[in-house]
Subunit: 406 residues, 2 copies
Amino acid sequence: MTRPPASRAEAIDRDRADPLAAQHALFDLPEGLAYLVGHSLGPPPRTAGTRLRAAQEDWQTGLVRSWNSAGWIDLASRAGDQIAALIGAGPGEVIVADSVSVNLFKLAAAALPLARTYVLFVEEDEFPTDQYIAAGLGDLSGAEVRSLPPGGTFEALKAGGVYLKSAVNYRSSDVADMAAHEHEARRHGALILWDLSHATGVLDLKLTAAGALLAAGCTYKYLNGGPGAPAFAYAGPEISNRLRTPLPGWMGHAAPFAFDAAYVPRDGAARFASGTPPILSLAALSGALDALNGVPLGALQAKARGLGALAIARAQAMGLEILSPLEDARRGGHVSVRIAQGYPVVQALAARGVMADFRAPDTVRFGFSPLFLRHETVWDALDALADILASGSWDQPQFHARAKVT
Amino acid sequence: MTRPPASRAEAIDRDRADPLAAQHALFDLPEGLAYLVGHSLGPPPRTAGTRLRAAQEDWQTGLVRSWNSAGWIDLASRAGDQIAALIGAGPGEVIVADSVSVNLFKLAAAALPLARTYVLFVEEDEFPTDQYIAAGLGDLSGAEVRSLPPGGTFEALKAGGVYLKSAVNYRSSDVADMAAHEHEARRHGALILWDLSHATGVLDLKLTAAGALLAAGCTYKYLNGGPGAPAFAYAGPEISNRLRTPLPGWMGHAAPFAFDAAYVPRDGAARFASGTPPILSLAALSGALDALNGVPLGALQAKARGLGALAIARAQAMGLEILSPLEDARRGGHVSVRIAQGYPVVQALAARGVMADFRAPDTVRFGFSPLFLRHETVWDALDALADILASGSWDQPQFHARAKVT
């Protein structure tokens, strides 16, 4: 681990040596914008637009024939294979489909009969949606849902149920030790369903090596797949063909065009495809994944953590409390900082071209997407924060006004 | 009901008098193509491209702010309101979300506790996906799934369960009497979940007037929303606020940005939104719906049925057996014809610029999308069919070769 740059000049030196500089050139971010919310919605790489325009053209001219001629029929599988390479999994182990919520539901429902006990577990500070899904699935299936204290999953694995667990906590940025959890899970007949939403595209994930069997994740954050881009589902080959989806659809059928009344699932993760995927959104995602082709995951992770370390060092120098792990190896792609007046401070930052986000009551999150951010940009963004805090310029009426989305 | 045109000149006269001629001009179909598979994938109206390009631009420049500034946050509700107007329902009663399969699952699961008996019913010739979903839901929920003979739903309503039923049969084009079914359902504590996939955008649907309470449907057929465009869910105001979705997500939460650990559903159909919708695909759909703004449903239905009647008259003149109702009032937007050598005939038609589709073993379907088709085009397409059958020109090796999609 290298120390963070101590000056603007050093930050610029880091950018000169950045092995991901070529990826930066694929983005056309508005001039002067420090976009530190790529963990919320990534910006479009040019490759996304290229594929989206091609899909529009295929719709216009090839029409329904494009299911074959333009390869729409297996686009979700091919995009899944692209994502598999980004999470340390193999071909056929990931399918792009539906939303994270729907995928968590399908995978958790399929996991319940294979776990030693028919119980769902979720930590009480887990991403809210994951908690809703656990509750919804519990109501419908009759599975008991047990709430765990923050970080309580590892200890609870001995109960042998199904566990929804984020690889990176959306608020703190804490990274879970996937391999240790999986090792413990196997001892007790437990199954862990990993939510990779805040981890994919920013960490050097190694699902196969860690023994992970089930995961779902988001594609519109660090993968830059576009607003509401379809999510992904991972099922390890050790169990995938024993998993029965509760949402069987024609796209997951072994013979989708036979129009059989009986459902026969495809092999592997593809069985978790259900209805027709949204091809235009999927095409944009597929193009966004092209921007990650051949990028070493280690370089992605090192850059994201280097940017995070830079922000942490500067925030500490301002006397701010850091709510994320200081140790790089325990931290995901974003850094959370406690700022009592976080809401108006985030608005004041936005007015100066620095986008961060606020989570009540006092958390400001800065996301460090490694593909398009530069050290210089992050340095200047922290300059802006220091100035806003030192001058008290955040305390103006327009920065206190609430919008629907922050 | 007017008699079908008896000559090409009469067909052209009908086009001159067509009240939907202005809509035809919104489409740029390839020259010389008779696209009779709009019931499979509708072509793009120009309004779809307009909205899609705007959404791309909002992603590029507004970035995450576009959830507010570009109105992404309630786009699914607004598109739902546009669809509500096309099915005879009111504002707030339709939400655009997920796929038809996922929506059927959510609605059927929510309906089960409100029906008199915890049993799912589906006809054995119902669309295959609907049968898969019934089976998947039955497995997970413990609800018994009973298969009914074709057309057996009405008689079975006295069992008081939940019934999946297409308003228009995907194969025969038979139209169900929605009001009669609903009347009978109420007598017995039964709930019908209508699949409107082959009905929306082609029939003068009146869900409120018929007393329908639950429905889902597809947007990429007669609504021309784009490949895999997100589907819709309808929940009537009489019961919507008592329905609990098994797939609660942040988009269906009453306060989506509060990030509460507890789920509180929005009022009305919006509670059936779950994860983030695919905005690019949704934007294209929203634009496609613009092409239907202000179009009288009666005119849509009359034109589709007029085109169907034209095809039926000409197919009968060729001695073909019609597998769809001859009576206009009982028929949806497509017409199925029995042709023993249906597969190569459809290929031979395609080679002459006429697109129809084939369903094994011997059914050829012609879809009559009322927005973009003309009587003249349909007349000429049937000329091509007559010539192919009379000449035997379908019996060439290249027309027997199987592709993945027909």
